[in-house]
C-alpha cells in the first residue's frame, strides 16, 4: 500500500542522505582535509557543520512556506516560471555530470583497489543495468527501503571499522592545534561542504516526502550526527596514518584500513570497506538518476518519466566515459571546479532563493500596509 502511494517519511529521507554521502566522504575527506589542513583536518567538519545548519534553516524556510511542493516548484513560486526552468535545466546538466563523475570515480576505485586486471566498463554496465533496470523503475519507495537496509549495513560496518581503528590512534598525529590552523581548517572544509550539500539534491524530490514540517528539527539532528561521524572518521584516518601519508594517498580510508591486523591474524578488513563503498555508490547514483528524472519531469511538464529512465541511464554511461581519462585529471577537475560548483548550485542558489523569498514577503507586507 505504501508502495503505491510513492511517498516516504522525512526520517527515511534523511537516512537516504546519510547513505549517499558515505562513499564520497570516505574517499575524499581524508585526503582533502589532510592536504589543506594537515593535522588539524579533523576540525574541518565544524565549519561544515555550521554552514550546513544554516542551509537547513534556510531550506526549512522555503519548505515551510510552500508545503508539499517540489523544490523546483518552490523556485518557480519565488522567481517565476522561466527562471525556475532555467535553473532546473542547470541542475539537470550538473546532476548528469555529477552522475558521470561519481560513476567514474566508483569504477576507477574498484578497478584500482580490488580488480587490477579487469576492464572498468564491466562494473559500469552491471551497475547501470541494475540501477536503471530495477531500482529506479521500482520507484522511490522501494529504493528508499533498500537504502535504509544499506544504511543499517553501513552503520554496522562503519562502527566495526572505527572500533578497529580507534585504539591505534596516536594523539601526536592529531596535534598541535593553534590559531595558525584556522585558515587551513576553513580551506579543508570546502570539500566537506560540497559533499554535504547533496542534502539539497535529495530534497529536490521534496513533494514525495511526507512530514516536511519536521525538516528543521530532523535536519539539524542529522547534520549533527553526520558531523560526529565524519569527525570520528577523520580522527581515525589522520590519527592512524598521519596527515603526511594521507595527503599523498589515492584512497585514504582503504590505505588506513589495510594496515589493520586484528589479533595478529585476521586481515582483509578492507573487504568491509569495499562492500560499503559499492552500496553507498549504488545509492548515490540511484538518487542522482531519480532526481534527474524529476527534473526532466518538471522541465517538460511530463506526467510519467519511466520511459526516460533508460535514456538517462545511457546518457550517464556516456558522460562517465567522457569525463576524465585518468585519476590525475579527475582529481584536478574535482579540486578546482566540482566542489565550488556543488556549493554554488546546492547551497548558494537555495539560500538566495530563501533570501529573495523573505524580501518579497516583506515587500508585499509593506505594500499591503501602504495601500491600507
Amino acid at each position: 500500500m505504501e508502495k503505491r502511494k510513492g511517498k516516504i517519511g522525512i526520517n527515511t529521507a534523511f537516512i537516504m542522505f546519510l547513505i549517499i554521502v558515505f562513499s564520497p566522504s570516505a574517499r575524499i575527506f581524508g585526503t582533502y582535509t589532510a592536504l589543506k589542513a594537515d593535522q588539524a583536518g579533523w576540525l574541518s567538519p565544524i565549519v561544515a557543520f555550521l554552514v550546513m545548519a544554516y542551509l537547513v534553516i534556510e531550506l526549512n524556510n522555503l519548505f515551510v512556506k510552500f508545503p508539499s511542493l517540489s523544490l523546483m516548484e518552490i523556485y518557480e513560486k519565488v522567481t517565476g516560471k522561466i527562471l525556475a526552468k532555467v535553473i532546473a535545466l542547470v541542475y539537470l546538466i550538473w546532476i548528469i555530470i555529477l552522475t558521470g563523475l561519481n560513476l567514474k570515480s566508483y569504477t576507477m576505485r574498484l578497478s584500482t583497489a580490488v580488480y587490477p586486471n579487469i576492464q572498468e566498463n564491466i562494473f559500469l554496465i552491471i551497475t547501470l543495468v541494475i540501477i536503471g533496470g530495477l531500482i529506479v523503475k521500482a520507484g522511490f519507495v522501494v529504493a528508499s527501503r533498500m537504502f535504509k537496509i544499506f544504511f543499517w549495513i553501513t552503520a554496522l560496518g562503519f562502527f566495526v571499522l572505527c572500533g578497529v581503528l580507534f585504539p591505534n590512534i596516536s594523539i601526536n598525529k592529531l596535534t598541535p592545534i593553534s590559531y595558525l590552523d584556522i585558515i587551513p581548517i576553513f580551506e579543508g572544509s570546502i570539500a566537506i561542504i560540497a559533499i554535504w550539500s547533496y542534502i539539497t539534491l535529495l530534497f529536490i524530490m521534496s513533494e514525495n516526502i511526507i512530514g516536511m514540517k519536521y525538516f528543521k528539527k530532523r535536519g539539524l539532528q542529522i547534520v549533527g550526527y553526520l558531523y560526529l561521524a565524519v569527525t570520528l572518521l577523520l580522527v581515525c584516518l589522520i590519527g592512524n596514518s598521519g596527515s603526511y601519508v594521507l595527503s599523498r594517498s589515492t584512497f585514504p580510508y582503504l590505505l588506513t584500513v589495510e594496515q589493520m591486523i586484528l589479533l595478529e591474524t585476521i586481515t582483509g578488513l578492507e573487504a568491509i570497506l569495499v562492500v560499503l563503498w559499492i552500496l553507498s555508490d549504488f545509492a548515490l547514483v540511484t538518487v542522482l538518476i531519480l532526481t534527474s528524472l524529476k527534473l526532466v519531469k518538471y522541465i517538460f511538464n511530463l506526467e510519467d518519466t519511466t520511459m526516460f529512465t533508460n535514456l538517462v541511464t545511457i546518457i550517464a554511461f556516456y558522460t562517465t566515459n567522457l569525463i576524465a581519462n585518468n585519476y590525475y585529471t579527475m582529481r584536478d577537475f574535482s579540486y578546482n571546479y566540482v566542489y565550488m560548483i556543488n556549493i554554488i548550485i546546492f547551497i548558494i542558489i537555495p539560500v538566495l532563493m530563501s533570501w529573495f523569498n523573505k524580501l518579497r514577503t516583506k515587500a508585499q507586507k509593506a505594500l499591503a500596509k501602504n495601500s491600507n
Binding site: 584500482t112 583497489a113 580488480y115 587490477p116 586486471n117 579487469i118 576492464q119 564491466i122 554496465i125 552491471i126 543495468v129 541494475i130 533496470g133 530495477l134 523503475k137 521500482a138 601526536n172 598525529k173 596535534t175 598541535p176 592545534i177 593553534s178 590559531y179 595558525l180 592512524n240 596514518s241 598521519g242 603526511y244 601519508v245 590505505l255 589495510e258 594496515q259 591486523i261 586481515t267
Partner: protein, 403 residues
C-alpha cells in the same frame, strides 16, 4: 521480481558471452599462486638492470626437502624485476602475503626509497609490509646462506621480530610509520639484521626437522640471523648503525621499551635487573629564545638474580643499585644523542616535541633553522631507575640470618 529475473538473465548473457574470458582476468585459483613471504632487494652493478630482487616462498608440496623456494632476478625497475621473476616462477607471483622486505647493505647505502617505491606504491603488497636493513652483506647473500641451512627464512624473521620486546634493541616499523618518520627531512632509522658466524655461545637446533647430511647447523657454514639494532638513515641513505645497547638507547628516547635486562656490577657482584616498565618523556623548553630539551627516563625493575650469595640486601644497597642502573641507562641514551648530534639528524623527534609544545613559535621561527639548532641543542638526560621488588625471595637465598 519478474524484472529481476530478466536482469539476471541479461547479466548472465553478458558474462557468458564470448568476450567473457577477456573481460574478466581477475580470477586466479589460489593454488596457482606463488606466494612470496619475504623478499630481498639489492642493487646490481650490471649495466642497466639496477634492481635485484630475491624472493622467498614456502614450499607447498608435502614431501618437500627444503622449507623455502628462492629465486633471484634482476630488472630495470623493481616492477620489471618482479615481472622477470614471474617469467621463471612455476605459478603466478603473488606479493600479498609478503611480510618483510630486506634491503641489502649496498642498496641501503645508495637509497632506501628508490628500492622501496614499488612495494609501497603497487597495490599487491600489503601496507603492513615491514622493511628491514641487512648489515654487512647483500640481502641475496643472506637469503642464500639461510636457504642452504634449511632455515625457514620468513619464519625466523617472524620469530625474531616477535621477540623484540625481550631485549628491546629494536622494534617493528611497518611502511606507514616509516614514511611518517621520514616525512620531514628524509632522515630516520630502520631495524637492521645481521648474519653472524656461529659463536660458541649460541647453538640452535630445531627438533622437528631432521638435518640432512652435511646440512647441520654446526660447522663452519652455520650462520645465525639476528637483530642487532637500527640503521640510521640520513637523506635517504644508510650512514651508520646503532647496535645492541645503543639501539636500546634509541628506544628509551622514543619510548618504545617493553622489557630488557640491566646487569649492574657492584663490589664484584653481578645483580641482574629485569626492566618491567620503561618510559620516557621529552620536555622541550624555550627560555629567552634559548632552546633546551630535557629527556626524562623512567625505569621500573625487578631484581631477578644475584651472582653471589650471603649478601645482606638493605636500603643502601638498593639505592646504590638504582643509582648504578640509572647511570647505565643514561650512558646508553647519551651515546645515541651524541651520535645523532654528530650526524646532524634529528631522528629522535625532539623537533617534533618543540612543534607540539610551541606550535606557533615553531612554525614562525625555528622550523627553518632547526637543522642548525639541533646539533648544538642542549639536551639534558635524567634517569630515574627504581627497583620495585625482588622476585620470589627478598633476601639472598643463603643469607644465614634474616633480619
Amino acid at each position: 521480481m519478474r524484472k529481476m529475473i530478466i536482469v539476471v538473465l541479461i547479466l548472465a548473457v553478458i558474462f557468458f558471452a564470448t568476450s567473457f574470458e577477456e573481460i574478466i582476468r581477475g580470477r586466479t585459483e589460489i593454488e596457482t599462486l606463488y606466494p612470496i613471504t619475504l623478499a630481498g632487494i639489492d642493487n646490481n652493478q650490471n649495466g642497466d638492470t639496477e634492481y635485484l630482487i630475491s624472493t622467498v616462498s614456502p614450499t607447498t608440496e608435502e614431501d618437500a626437502v627444503k622449507p623455502n623456494n628462492i629465486m633471484t632476478v634482476a630488472g630495470k625497475t623493481g616492477f620489471d624485476a618482479n615481472r622477470n621473476i614471474g617469467m621463471y616462477a612455476e605459478n603466478d607471483l603473488y606479493w600479498g602475503y609478503a611480510k618483510y622486505i630486506l634491503i641489502g647493505e649496498e642498496a641501503s647505502k645508495e637509497s632506501v626509497f628508490k628500492y622501496l617505491d614499488f612495494f609501497m606504491r603497487d597495490n599487491e603488497p600489503r601496507m603492513t609490509l615491514t622493511p628491514l636493513i641487512v648489515k654487512g652483506m647483500s640481502s641475496r647473500e643472506l637469503i642464500g646462506l639461510l636457504y642452504e641451512q634449511n632455515i625457514d627464512i620468513s619464519n625466523t624473521v617472524d620469530n625474531i621480530i616477535d621477540n623484540y620486546a625481550i631485549l628491546s634493541y629494536a622494534f617493528e616499523m611497518p611502511f606507514v610509520e616509516f614514511i611518517d618518520l621520514m616525512s620531514d627531512k628524509k632522515n630516520g632509522y630502520l631495524p637492521c639484521f645481521e648474519l653472524e658466524d656461529e659463536r660458541l655461545d649460541i647453538r640452535i637446533e630445531h627438533g622437528g626437522q631432521e638435518p640432512e647430511e652435511g646440512e647441520t647447523l654446526e660447522g663452519e657454514h652455520a650462520k645465525i640471523l639476528r637483530s642487532v639494532g637500527y640503521a640510521i638513515i640520513k637523506d635517504d641513505k644508510v650512514i651508520d648503525y646503532i647496535l645492541f645497547e645503543q639501539g636500546r638507547g634509541l628506544n628509551w628516547i622514543i619510548d618504545e621499551i617493553v622489557s630488557g635486562t640491566i646487569v649492574v656490577e657492584h663490589e664484584g657482584v653481578k645483580y641482574n635487573l629485569e626492566i618491567i616498565e620503561g618510559g620516557s618523556k621529552i620536555v622541550p623548553k624555550i627560555k629567552d629564545e634559548k632552546l633546551k630539551a630535557e629527556i626524562k627516563v623512567n625505569v621500573d625493575n625487578i631484581l631477578t638474580e644475584i651472582s653471589k650469595q650471603d649478601i645482606a640486601i638493605d636500603d643502601e644497597l638498593m639505592k646504590t643499585l638504582e643509582r648504578k642502573s640509572s647511570e647505565i641507562v643514561k650512558k646508553e641514551v647519551m651515546e645515541v644523542i651524541d651520535l645523532v648530534q654528530k650526524h646532524e639528524i634529528d631522528i629522535i623527534g625532539i623537533g617534533d616535541k618543540f612543534y607540539h609544545r610551541y606550535p606557533v613559535k615553531w612554525e614562525k621561527k625555528y622550523k627553518e633553522k632547526w637543522e642548525d639548532i639541533f646539533p648544538k641543542l642542549d639536551i639534558e638526560v635524567t634517569v630515574d631507575s627504581t627497583i620495585e621488588r625482588s622476585a620470589r625471595f627478598y633476601e639472598s637465598i643463603l643469607s644465614g640470618e634474616v633480619k
